[in-house]
């Protein structure tokens, strides 16, 4: 397939590259993500059992617990965070985790908001390059 670039809005700017992991279902990281292994553990979520560490995770938004941010911070510290998170709306939980990870550990991950139709065009397994501008390159 030909290479394609979609314009996203960089909520937390940064660079990342990885294999896409795409879901249309919102996710709570607390009760939904094991930061020791980087695996999705929410038994009600379609991606249960799938490892998201190091991948470009496309999830429309966070839901549930306020502790999603803390789980993500732990995962950055443990090296098990997604390489980047792509959302539909602006999700302040994901953004905060990345900003605090930057403050605490000098490590962050890009968070990019996409238009709904662009989000829907993403497929698991695509190779994705995230640029600081928010541009998403699909390889």
């Amino acid at each position: 397939m030909a290479e394609r670039v979609i314009a996203g809005r960089a909520i937390v700017p940064g660079e990342a590259e990885g294999e896409a992991l795409v879901t249309s279902e919102a996710l709570s990281f607390w009760g939904g993500y094991d930061f020791q292994t980087g695996t999705i553990i929410d038994t009600r979520h379609p991606l249960v059992g799938v490892r998201a560490a190091g991948r470009v995770l496309a999830v429309p938004f966070s839901k549930g617990s306020s502790t999603t941010t803390a789980v993500l911070l732990e995962s950055v510290r443990a090296g098990t965070a997604p390489a980047a998170i792509l959302t539909t709306g602006v999700d302040s939980f994901f953004a905060l985790a990345s900003i605090v990870a930057d403050v605490m550990y000098g490590k962050s991950f890009p968070v990019v908001a996409l238009e709904a139709e662009d989000f829907e065009s993403l497929k698991t397994g695509m190779r994705i390059v995230v640029s600081p501008s928010g541009a998403i390159q699909l390889l």
């Binding site: 502790t67 941010t69 905060l96």
Partner: protein, 411 residues
């Protein structure tokens, strides 16, 4: 504050807030007059390092601040499977937040403490159930604050001027109408938890408005609703028409605008939502667990006559998670003793989801909490039966799951 005039901790907290304000869609910060800190949950080294860094920098909260559950029951953890290293680190995290001058409420139901906010009060609260309760039941105004940001707001006394702090963002978007849901079902003590579970799924990222309630439930039912709606969804405000202070009518809930969409809920929807909360099959039962959000004195008052003169089955544990304040009030009211004599254990300051306390042999739970029912399968690798308070007691006595479904089946 950014230049460090109010100390290094305020500077750090403000630097995070300033980066978050544009993310939240705010062009400025605003004053808040109360905070509730969910960052108290110990998860691992990162949450502890964040707390201890702030404390070491001399952080002090600038507004009255309550503390959510921690990762350990300081007095009771040795009765359970909590690893000593976990207990020590979780206790260190508690000390860090206490040092900042917050009130050690250690509860996920801060709205049932002396720090209950008032209608219209601008607050910065973490803990999803508390956020939903504050907005929907009290009419206080808080955005859905995540862990780590709640404490930054408390230290600075400021929050992004955005989201649910602003009147225009509090309007309903999705109208949910109860159709043919009879009074006996609405009066059943499982109803509001089931309704919350369903509304959370339907609302997605919109503000829901529920019309058709014909009951004025006790506050603990609304607590159960808030916990459920904020677990299955991301709901921070739900207008319950006739209950939510801003929603005496449907038109008020929508601020006189038209709903974006409308969905009718029937008994069939509610039955399937209730069924979904049960992930166990068969009637095996290892433990009854009550108290998410934390059990209140009123709930102890309801439980006491149900257990009086009875004894739990020796093979079934019976655990109530609550706060120090509520245990004390229950003891004073004489409603704690029958619960303890029944064979119940009480865990304070934390819960089974936030402290690794359950031994591995506990595989099947029963609860009246939609929040426990929602999270326990993923977090604890357990199966759960959801039922009424009376069903939970009866099952604990009989030693296996017993449920009275008559109100739900006949309607």
């Amino acid at each position: 504050m950014l230049n460090g005039e109010r100390g290094a901790a305020a500077q750090l907290a403000m630097s995070i807030l300033v980066r978050m304000a544009p993310v939240c869609g705010a062009s400025s910060l605003m004053d808040i007059t109360q905070a509730h800190i969910d960052s108290t949950l110990y998860l691992g080294d990162a949450t502890l390092e964040f707390a201890e860094r702030l404390a070491a920098l001399g952080a002090r909260v600038a507004v009255p601040t309550s503390l959510n559950v921690s990762g350990v029951d300081e007095c009771g953890w040795k009765d359970w499977a909590v690893p000593p290293e976990w207990a020590a680190k979780a206790a260190r995290q508690m000390v860090a937040y206490e040092r900042m001058g917050a009130v050690p409420t250690w509860t996920c139901a801060p709205y049932q403490t002396q720090l209950r906010p008032s209608f219209g009060q601008q607050i910065a609260w973490g803990e999803s159930n508390a956020i939903a309760f504050a907005n929907s039941v009290i009419g206080a105004r808080t955005e859905r604050y995540p862990d780590l940001l709640d404490i930054c707001c408390a230290i600075t006394g400021r929050a992004p001027a955005a989201g649910l702090h602003l009147t225009e963002n509090r309007a309903g978007q999705l109208l949910i109408r109860l159709v043919g849901v009879p009074l006996p079902v609405q009066q059943d003590d499982q109803f509001f938890a089931v309704l919350g579970h369903l509304v959370g799924q339907l609302a997605q990222d919109r503000v829901p408005v529920v019309d058709g309630l014909v009951v004025r439930p006790p506050e603990d039912q609304l607590k159960a609703f808030a916990a459920a709606v904020a677990s299955s969804g991301r709901v921070a405000l739900c207008h319950l028409v006739g209950i939510t202070p801003e929603a005496p009518t449907v038109a008020d809930a929508f601020q006189r605008r038209a709903p974006e969409s409308t969905r009718d809920l029937t008994m069939a929807d509610l039955r399937s939502a209730r069924d979904e909360l049960t992930t166990a099959d068969g009637d095996r039962l290892d433990m009854v667990i009550l108290g998410s959000p934390h059990f209140s004195v009123e709930e102890f008052r309801r439980l006491a006559p149900l257990v009086a003169g009875k004894r739990r089955h020796p093979d079934v544990k019976f655990l109530v998670t609550s706060s120090r304040l509520m245990r004390e009030l229950a003891a004073e009211a004489g409603v704690l003793a029958p619960v303890v004599e029944f064979g119940a254990q009480i865990t304070l300051d934390t819960c089974i989801l936030t402290s690794p306390m359950l031994p591995p042999e506990i595989k099947t739970l029963m609860t009246n909490s939609a929040k426990y029912a929602y999270y326990a399968p993923s977090l604890l690798n357990t199966r759960v039966t959801f039922g009424s308070l009376a069903d939970c007691v009866r099952s604990a006595v009989d030693g296996h799951v017993v449920r009275d479904d008559s109100a739900w089946r006949s309607a």
